[in-house]
Amino acid sequence: MTFQQPNIDTSPKVSDEIRKTTCYMCACRCGINVHMKDGKVAYIEGNRDHPVNKGVLCAKGSAGIMQHNAPSRLRAPMKRVGPRGSGEFEEISWDEAFDIAAGWLGPLRETNPEKLAFFTGRDQSQSFTSLWAQSFGTPNYAAHGGFCSVNMATAGIYTMGGAFWEFGQPDWEHTKLFMIFGVAEDHDSNPIKAGIGKIKARGAKVIGVNPVRSGYNAVADEWVGITPGTDGLFILALVHELLKAGRIDLDYLARYTNAPVLLDCDPKSENHGLFLRDDNDKPLVMDRKTKELVAFDTPGIYPDLTGHIRRAGVTHHSVMHEMAEKYLDPQYAPEAVAERCGISASRIRALAAELARVAFEEPVVLDREWTDFRGETHKQMIGRPVSFHAMRGISAHSNGFQTCRALHLLQILLGSVETPGGFRFKPPYPKPVEAHPKPHCGVNPGQPLDGPHLGFVRGPEDLMLKPDGSAARIDKAFTWENPMSAHGLMHMVIANAHAGDPYKIDTLFLYMANMSWNSSMNTSGVMKMLTDTDENGDYVIPRIIYSDAYSSEMVAYADLILPDTTYLERHDCISMLDRPISEPDGAADAIRWPVVEPDRDVRGFQTALIQLGAKLGLPNFTNEDGSAKYQDYADYITNHERKPGIGPLTGWRIGEDGPTTGRGAPNDAQLDSYIENGGFHIAHIAPEAAYFKPWNAAYQDWAVEMGFYDAPAPYIFTLYSEPVRKFQRAAEGHGDHQPPEHLRDRLKKVMDPLPIWYEPFEGTMVDPDRYPIHALTQRPMAMYHSWGTQNAWLRQLHGRNPLYLPSKLMREHGLQDGDWARVSSAHGEITVPVMEMAALNENTVWTWNAIGKRKGAWALENDAPETTKGFLLNHLINELLPPKGDGLRWSNSDPITGQAAWFDLKVRIEKASGPTEESQPNFAPQTSPVGQGPKELRWKVGK
């Protein structure tokens, strides 16, 4: 029959209006265009002008509409009416909620501020929340970095003044070889995908080092299926091979690192292992031209990598000398490490050779003249186009700090940091340790804390200890157990508060952290701690305040709930004072603003905190007459000044001659300008200032102008870390600040000023025959950062999380897809469904993180697969190491930074006996304070 094609409208109206804000479906902070119809959110797409995502958007971002309308949204403040954990609440007014909170916190502040522990989870407003905690006066504040990737951040700052993700990224335009370690889905989400797409399109190579070949490792040209926890050993074998072949960037090392700095190498000397310094305390190098000792930054010198001198009977040689002696040692030869790493020696050599070939045979040369901090002008910018990225996979081990340091050592030896084709910092980074504060814990009742909580210790004198040597902080951050814990240890707070070690607290105040579920190790144990009572029948942790936007598992364990908004209903600032959205070629910050008003009695957490702060009369939140200083968070973002002329946002400030960037007075219309510009502001860096930033005079001057520093602060990279050495030295018995005896040997070993590798702790403590298998988690790309797991669209992609087993283990245990296995560790046991995966290290099992949910949470029905077949590996991981018989509690964390050692886990697999209906352990349902979701969705607004 003849067919008449229908006429269709190919130009329908798309929306009434586009509102541009910042995504918060994960921590990536992409720009989004929110299409509005009839005042409702109709469609979300990426903002093409935005520096982070340049128009693209991931599955999470596009599913934001389901998050914004989720049935699990909390509706009003609530007070607990049933027992803790039951989920039984009564909705109350904000006035009553603030009365309750102030009634608890006010007296604490006047008598004992440290009895408030305020920890803020996946907070993107830490410069604000920390100011609040500082104003309150408690030393007990941190966000979630301790259980996330503090090893990465801290090792990066201590080594080169910045790390991956928020601090810097590969030079996607020029890099020719990209090597990723332990990266599944992680920070940075869309930019890494875009970067990989871009470099693959021009035929550049990607090498993936990961026990699991999923995601980025699936598209990698070469996959290295390493044994978990051995990345540092593998990297040091690469270093060994490169050094042995002389394939290192000598000119770069001489000019820009502390490789030429002279080191006291006499074991009998008082200053053994410390730098030779001048009267101004500057490290000394030998000038290769004059053979004289000079400060490292003296104009006109060329530091000598082979410098050495005998002074006052003490021999000094260069850090380069120390490194060569250490890493040329046969213990780092490929043959010596191959078996432990699960990578053959010839493969390790081939990878080292590939790095050397690309770095030195294919340099990127840009014709851009620039002047360095010693006053020398360079005609060109010459770079080594090998780039690296790493995140949680190498970070979440008890040897993570030193492994991250080893990776930075490798980058620097190749001359590939801040050079074309390598790794580039994003303003306000680079920023060396010296430019960061030290931690503070000075408590005075009724007064603010004596300084910022978190910082970077320079040596034992900076630890946060009470006069009796006990920990000043509830999480024991900055103690001999983990001296460089720059992000705190959120994962230890509940366990320590419950144990009263180092002391008891009164109120636990948490924001956006699912501590009774996937954000805690030892989940079942934590639930017990949160509900445990003392001999009087009172809760051991007396009071818990929690703020969340959704009915998460943690809600049930709080006494008072402050309901947050969704990300489309709130103000936020992604601030230069904090963790901005900068790019290597520009300093950028951004806002969120209410593109829709909440239809519930909820308030943005920061606004609630400002109002509570005013009610408590906190300095920084109260005027002299006692009135509230800020009405809400928008008011704070606009008008707060950290110091004169420096506020949360850098764009559209007021200068003497009109609008200015960086430094300037507050501007009432600042947020309007941000909104008009698509929700962000970017200040571009001139091309001659865009590389070699730590040493580039033009960059340093620009950074001062922007307000990142008050004076130029050039520095050299820290291959050899004196702060680390100072702790080791104390452990050797030197100095007034001495560690407790039981930690002395461990500190001597792990506080090595040059990167080392040691076996992850759990592996050394459990019987390898009983627990021979490594167990890991990864985050699915469509759900990384699990605060969106109940999303109606996304849960159709990842509603189940089998335990993936390599083919060898499936055969060994007679397992088939869908069978159930008992998985046990030294700490616990779970029973879970399994599935085979061939592209997997043969001694490793893994699952998706945080898919498993508790019945009653997230407005899911009780038979949702997340609750019946989903599971958490967390039940197998304890916050403490297995007891050693010494009566002490040993944290399952990195001994340097306190980073939670999630990925040290060793397990045993057995086929489950008998039929299994549900994964184990399974828990009684919580009462849902918001009911359950609808039976069907037919989502269309503005029909």
């Binding site: 029959m1 003849t2 067919f3 094609q5 269709i8 130009s11 329908p12 798309v14 119809k37 469609y43 797409e45 991931c58 999470k60 596009s62 599913a63 995908k193 875009a194 990989i196 797409g197 693959k200 070949r213 995601g215 699936a218 598209v219 040209d221 996959w223 299926g225 050094l243 042995k244 072949a245 000598l250 001489a254 060329y302 000598d304 380069m320 000398h321 060569a324 040329l328 053959s344 010839s346 050599r349 080292a352 790309m781 109606a792 669209w793 849960r795 159709q796 992609l797 509603g799 061939a838 592209a839 407005a859 029905e861 949702a864 979701g933 609808p934 039976k935 069907e936 989502w939 269309k940």
Partner: protein, 249 residues
């Protein structure tokens, strides 16, 4: 039965790069969002918060493990939506004329007003690219965002399918395969673009770029060996080399 046009003026379609697709599902959800709000009935979800959530999606990503003869197993992410076949069996099987292939651009569409929800087209499609919407009772499929690609209410740069616009890895490309000079024709020619199941004779318009060869390292033959020629075996020898090497700076 519905007839196919003898030929179409243009052949619009997608190139999907399997070498670059990281399996992130960005395209899946962007498609869900756009097509829920736009062409035809919304893409509904049944039991969205319950035991068996099942919704309508016009584009899905499947993942397959591949075990090559040499080297480790690989994981290939495989996005799949309607391929807008030249010989589309879903059109010829349609009893009402609801399924049709557009003369001007070759897009295969369903006219929902005429769709009786019989499901014959889904049965005839060898790719499983059609989904019956359980709430509306009509057949849904990829429209190649026919309401975006010509939409004068969108900026010109946005006149492409939402899956292409959103793909973070840049693994999806949209264009006209009837023009040998188009981006998609050239990409497909350069990278060996493939038809999906060509033996079925459906003549799909969409092309898949195969993954590049992986894991080229095969062991003992070490072409890179010169790069690791030792300058010394011991620290002392290394320092001698270092001193000499520094002479050139």
């Amino acid at each position: 039965m519905t007839s196919l046009p003898e030929q179409t003026d243009r052949k619009l379609g997608l190139v999907i790069d399997l070498d670059t697709c990281v399996g992130c599902h960005a395209c899946v959800i962007s498609c869900k969002g756009w097509n829920t709000e736009n062409y035809g009935a919304p893409l509904s979800d049944q039991d969205p918060y319950g035991a068996d959530p099942v919704g309508t999606f016009l584009n899905r990503v499947h993942s397959y493990e591949v075990q090559p003869d040499q080297g480790p197993a690989q994981l290939v992410h495989f996005p799949k939506s309607c391929l807008h076949c030249d010989d589309a069996p879903c059109v010829t099987v349609c009893p009402t004329g609801a399924s049709y292939k557009r003369v001007e651009d070759g897009i295969v569409l369903v006219n929902e007003d005429n769709c009786i929800g019989c499901g014959l087209c889904a049965w005839s499609c060898p790719y499983g690219a059609r989904e019956m919407d359980a709430a509306e009772g009509v057949m849904k499929k990829c429209t190649l965002c026919v309401d975006r690609i010509y939409n004068e209410n969108l900026p010109e740069e946005d006149r492409e399918p939402s899956c292409v616009r959103t793909c973070p890895a840049g693994a999806r490309h949209f264009g006209d395969f009837s023009d040998p000079e188009s981006n998609v024709s050239k990409l497909s020619a350069e990278r060996g673009g493939m038809d999906l199941m060509p033996e079925l004779g459906t003549k799909p318009v969409n092309k898949y770029l195969p993954p590049r060869p992986k894991d080229s390292w095969q062991g003992e033959v070490d072409v890179l060996a010169p790069w690791l020629e030792p300058v010394a075996q011991e620290p002392q020898g290394f320092f001698g080399w270092l001193d000499k090497a520094l002479e050139k700076f």
